[in-house]
Symmetry: C2
Subunit: 276 residues, 2 copies
Amino acid sequence: MELWYTEKQTPNVGITCKISKTLHDEQTKFQHMAVIDTEQFGRMLVLDGMVMTTIKDEFVYHEMISHVALNTHPNPENVLVIGGGDGGAIREVTKHPKVKKATLVEIDARVVDVSKELLPEIAVALKGNPKVEVLIDDGIAHIKNKEKVYDVILIDSTEPIGPAEGLFSLEFYRQIYKALKEDGIMVAQTESPFFNKDLISRVYKDISSIFPLTKLYLANIPTYPSGLWSFTMGSKRWDPEQIEESKLPHLDTNYYCPEIHRAIFKLPGFVKNLLK
Amino acid sequence: MELWYTEKQTPNVGITCKISKTLHDEQTKFQHMAVIDTEQFGRMLVLDGMVMTTIKDEFVYHEMISHVALNTHPNPENVLVIGGGDGGAIREVTKHPKVKKATLVEIDARVVDVSKELLPEIAVALKGNPKVEVLIDDGIAHIKNKEKVYDVILIDSTEPIGPAEGLFSLEFYRQIYKALKEDGIMVAQTESPFFNKDLISRVYKDISSIFPLTKLYLANIPTYPSGLWSFTMGSKRWDPEQIEESKLPHLDTNYYCPEIHRAIFKLPGFVKNLLK
């Protein structure tokens, strides 16, 4: 008997993966969570019926949400990750020698627990790394009264429906701005340029209305809708496109590398048009 | 009743699209051919069970197989497209004012006929464009005795199984080299860096063994396996990365634009590693 997991990525298109085993299936306080083992991508974390990450392609998302900002900021000592309970972004953050403290704020404790158990390669930094603090809390509540605390904030959210809806709001980006130090940088995952055009335009406009510098960049993630994913950066001072390639560190990464640091901001025509 | 078309892109992963209508279904002399109308991507051409092109995302593939070489060559007067019976690549070729003659060599006359009828937006250049010549022939036979004829040759093939297998061979690339003028450029579609690693490595090595300059670039195509697609360029003289952005023409395109002409050659780490 062949078992296939199919995710409707929009009402009209989906990805379907042959699975060898369902490893976990649970309704948490916040969402439905499953871990399935797929033949193509290895173990896969699924929240509310949407692929969050897989063993085989997680490197793209986690490297790309982290290293672009961390290599743009000259001294990213204090970093906050909102969401991202699987630990992949935090693992990448801890690769930077200048990072002294990395805080993860995840609303759903079960995502952290199950990732530690079933996705240990991804969650490795959540277990006993002295630089890492894991808080189970609402990201919005966490930053509410913070002022000039963080150098870099990464918004590693689920889709803008369900628990993460507030993480895509203008008010939230204002709080993020306040919580960042005077030369801080934020990066948010902002969905697919093929399927989420309105969202990308709106978020870009919102972040531009708050930060002096707003830029969008792209990465290729096979298990995400359309395979093309966007990240939006708001920066108070540092421009990622002004970074000298020769000064960038060669980290232990499989997707991010110095050569692409500036190239990822060169956008195909139809994506550029979303930002006008 | 909901109808869904599912393509197994590998034995373990697929794309599934809701369809409103099957417009055409035929076994030609060479392959199975269908045109279906999908809710997400509009009309879709399917050959031997693989998505070839769709109305909504065809612009990416057709612009990217064509304009990079055509804007790298200073005077692309005589252009050959091998395969590509839907006419999309030829349509893009005819956008270049310097192109005097564009020849399409497609092995399967039925692909040309059905595209003209059911995909007229894509096949537009196949009908009465005085610069365009359409030949129904085997691409390998067509170039066999050609010497220094073409400025640019685009290999717009199907997958390397079935009728297109010979279009991925070292011997074929040698013939292409011979058929190109002394400063000619070839571009071949070379599949997904996530799913076709061995093919990409092998083709890159083969083309490098013949052409003085070999470079790989990437584009994002939602309906192709993994959503990330590669193109391999062999060039006798001109380097696409030495082209000045400010001198590139602003063509009527939705993906290709001067800003990305050089950026697309900056490769993620895992893709760069395939070319070592």
